[in-house]
């Protein structure tokens, strides 16, 4: 079938009928798309819309169940290596550089130029200078990558892909980890690459940024390509509507009562500066309130929560807990005051994988299950069993190693840890990341229940559409500062997403 492929002039990559199933999931259905040389195409969609599946198929990591991918007239009929030969170069969200090595060494990682069996450092340097020069980047080939600012590391990552002379460059949220001021150079570089005749797929959630770099956008939803639009012709609201479809309007809010905001707030933050991410953040959280923090990746969400739990050094600002103004925000003091943080990275920072659910639930506070200094294991298991029941954790028994539980159940246990420790201010960082739909709903229910019992909850999420479900109030965090507040019925999926994505 290779010979019959039609080539529209200038088209670098043509995708037709592309379909991919995973067990139980239709990850991508019947996708058609083509991109011309020199074009920057934005790829938009919520989490789980199928963007990553499309990217994985294009870069040869996965093979499609049906459909074809044609790059420069050649079918992509092999794995990553074949995709590389055809000139598809993905740049993934996580940096894959070796920080201890120089820029030049990183550009040639794994394919060092040899001369007589020795690495030819001269050629490596020259080639690197040439690539960096083409991109008009002022980065020394000899600089150690780990010592460069994050934006320049991202540029080195892009330069590495460019060195291989790609036909199609795929950039997956290249600016998500960068501060606003650093984004500009990255965008300029992307434009320059496109001008040299490369087709670029640019995945990002930041619409303002997309408008600066791309001319058209392909919007995905539920594993399908919904539409490809010219960005000059559409408003941000229209794009958001395309992304959300009909589902957005039909959500059921779990929010019940009114929050009394005349009482002393449980947590009061004023003028919080946490370099380098956060500037001048002020807000209150009241008993019984779920306060959502909406922001895109890199907006400073996690930094805010970590700072409030005492794990980041605060440069300026005050924190007041239940009317008591704190001289210093330190981890153990905050814990004593009833502040509990559940981190975003559940596996890396929250669970102790090999310990049982029982110990993972109780390890923040052994006092209530101890007699003097001695832990009473029977009491500990009893306490754990009660919590497991109350939180609806599906585990074979209290002693089951927590690593054997599903993500949702692990998350419930991590929240339960702070319930056990008697926390009244819960800082939840992406509590539903990577858990299935049913577990999500259970977590929403749990969060509401805790608030209704008088806890103050700060609920951070990058999945903006979940905030209207659980939050009494939503603050918009953008580029390290608060950029809006919504209360009650103002909180809709549309309004939250539009506010978080909008241009400053």
């Amino acid at each position: 079938m290779t010979e019959h492929i039609q080539r529209a002039p200038g088209v670098v990559v043509a995708v037709s009928g592309l379909t991919k199933h995973y067990p139980g999931v239709q990850a991508l259905t019947d996708a058609d798309m083509s991109i011309r040389a020199g074009e920057v195409r934005a790829l938009l969609g919520r989490n789980g819309a199928g963007k990553s599946t499309l990217i994985r198929l294009l870069s040869g990591v996965e093979t499609p169940d049906a459909g074809t991918i044609v790059v420069d007239g050649q079918p992509l009929d092999g794995g990553v290596r074949r995709a590389g030969e055809l000139g598809v170069q993905p740049v993934h969200q996580e940096l894959s550089l070796v920080p201890q090595l120089s820029v030049a060494e990183n550009l040639f990682l794994g394919s060092w130029p040899l001369q007589g069996g020795r690495i030819d450092y001269g050629r490596m340097r020259d080639e690197t200078s040439r690539v960096l020069g083409e991109l008009e980047l002022r980065i020394s080939p000899d600089a150690t990558v780990g010592e460069l600012p994050l934006a320049e590391q991202q540029l080195v990552e892009i330069a590495r892909a460019v060195r291989r002379q790609p036909r199609l460059l795929i950039l997956d949220e290249p600016t998500s980890a960068l501060a606003a001021s650093e984004v500009k150079t990255v965008l300029e570089t992307v434009r320059r690459i496109a001008e040299s005749g490369v087709a670029v797929i640019y995945v990002s959630h930041r619409l303002d940024e997309i408008r600066q770099v791309a001319s058209s956008a392909t919007v995905m939803r539920d594993g399908r390509i919904v539409e490809t639009v010219g960005l000059e012709d559409v408003t941000t609201e229209q794009v958001v509507d395309l992304m959300l479809g009909e589902t957005a309007q039909s959500v059921e809010r779990l929010v019940t009562g009114e929050v009394d905001r005349d009482v002393t707030p449980l947590l009061r933050v004023r003028g919080l500066h946490v370099p380098p991410k956060l500037q001048d953040v002020s807000f209150d959280v009241f008993p019984g309130e779920v306060l959502g923090i909406a922001g895109l990746m890199g907006a400073g969400r996690s930094e805010l929560l970590r700072a409030l739990a005492g794990f980041e050094s605060i440069a300026a600002g005050t924190v007041t807990v239940a009317g008591e103004r704190l001289a210093a925000v330190r981890p153990r003091a905050m814990k004593r005051l009833g502040v509990g943080l559940t981190p975003e990275d559940r596996k890396g920072e929250a669970i102790i994988p090999l310990l049982g659910v029982d110990e993972n639930l109780t390890l923040a506070d052994y006092r209530s299950v101890s007699t003097g200094p001695t832990i009473g294991w029977r009491r500990l298991r009893e306490t754990a069993r009660t919590l497991i029941q109350r939180l609806g954790i599906a585990a074979a028994g209290p002693q089951t190693p927590i690593v054997n539980l599903s993500g949702g159940n692990q998350q419930k246990a991590v929240i339960g840890r702070w319930l056990h420790a008697g926390s009244r201010i819960l800082l939840l960082d992406e509590p539903t990341r990577g858990v299935d739909v049913q577990a999500k709903e259970e977590i929403y229910g749990l969060v509401r229940e805790l608030a209704d019992r008088g806890a103050a909850i700060v609920f951070v999420s990058g999945e903006l559409e979940e905030l209207p479900l659980v939050c009494d109030r939503v603050l918009i965090l953008r580029d390290g500062g608060l950029a809006g507040e919504m209360t009650g019925d103002e909180i809709t999926t549309d309004s939250v997403i539009a506010a978080a994505m909008a241009t400053t």
Binding site: F311, L341, P343, G348, I352, A364, I375, L405, Q438
Partner: protein
């Protein structure tokens, strides 16, 4: 949801089996060694040899209890051998030359032992010096000091009833072995029944999570190394009592026997997993092999070769069993 309910019970069993497999395997291996050596090595089963083995086990075991916790927490302590030697020198010099009396010399040794251990822990906790390096430093400093202070000659202990008891037996059982067993019970209690002990497991399993849960990493780390320092000092005092002298060249290579016993006992060098019961079996295993090789009249250099092969083989089986457990868990 597909992974939750069905995966959990089989997973537990796999992990459980993995642990028990190791301990059961060690018991079988030790039993086998007893049968083989009982037949081939003359005098192996004699009461005096068995009691002697208990005393040898104590030299490794006492420090191994502490090192087990250190390794579970994800750290390492390689300073045991020189620390024991230096302690024996300290107690001998203190009582024979510095006029502290036996009690004073023992106290000084124990305090200093806890002190230099705490120092290593503090370097780890406060400055992030890898514990391997911090204790390598101790290894070198203490080993050098022990030889320097004594000109590499044994320092004879003065006559003392206390030292006779420490170096001898109580009701026929070597005092060192009694101390070892008491400390084993203490450490089983600490590991299982105190927040400190559970914090050790939590830190080794996931230090970031432990910290976010409000566990004070620094305090635990300093305490861990202070403990191994103290245990090395206790071992040194008992060794001096048994030999009747302190020697800067005693206990050479003991640190590796200790680490080998801990690892053979099933404690993961990467941290987070391990048990004192396992370490106890590891100590017995190593002691029996060492004793058997001597009784069989194997050349002393060749003994090291055989021991090395057996230790690596035992750990290999251990790793293999652990991997099978992990594979069952994730599948």
């Amino acid at each position: 949801m597909t992974t939750t309910a069905p995966a959990a019970p089989s997973g537990v069993r796999a992990v459980f089996r993995g642990h028990r497999l190791n301990e059961a395997g060690l018991i079988i291996a030790i039993a086998l060694l007893y049968v083989i050596l009982g037949v081939t090595a003359a005098g192996f089963l004699s009461p005096s040899n068995q009691l002697g083995m208990l005393r040898d086990a104590a030299t490794i075991g006492i420090a191994a209890w502490g090192v087990t916790l250190v390794i579970i927490s994800g750290e390492i302590d390689i300073s045991i051998g020189p620390a024991v030697a230096f302690s024996s020198v300290l107690v001998a010099l203190g009582s024979a030359q510095w006029g502290l009396g036996i009690g004073g010399a023992i106290l000084l040794t124990l305090v200093l032992g806890a002190g230099w251990g705490a120092l290593a822990g503090w370097l780890r906790a406060r400055f992030g010096v890898p514990s391997f390096i911090a204790t390598l430093g101790l290894w070198s400093v203490l080993g050098g000091l022990g030889l320097y202070l004594t000109d590499a000659l044994p320092v004879v202990l003065p006559e003392s009833g206390l030292m006779d008891v420490l170096g001898g037996s109580i009701l026929g059982i070597p005092t060192a072995a009694i101390v070892m067993v008491i400390l084993l019970l203490v450490f089983v209690y600490i590991a299982k029944y105190t927040p400190y002990g559970r914090a050790v497991y939590a830190i080794g399993g996931n230090a970031a999570a432990a910290e976010l849960s409000g566990i004070n990493l620094s305090r635990v780390r300093v305490a861990l190394f202070a403990t191994t320092g103290l245990l090395a000092a206790i071992t040194g005092v008992l060794l001096a009592a048994r030999l009747g002298a302190g020697s800067g060249s005693a206990a050479a290579g003991l640190e590796f026997d200790v680490i080998a016993a801990v690892v053979i006992g099933g404690t993961a060098l990467a941290g987070g997993r391990g048990s004192l019961l396992g370490t106890f079996l590891g100590v017995v295993f190593i002691t029996v092999i060492g004793n058997g090789l001597v009784l069989l009249g194997v050349d002393s250099f060749l003994q090291d070769v055989i021991r090395g092969v057996i230790i690596v083989g035992a750990v290999l089986i251990n790793v293999w069993a652990g991997r099978r457990g992990a594979a069952t868990r994730t599948s």
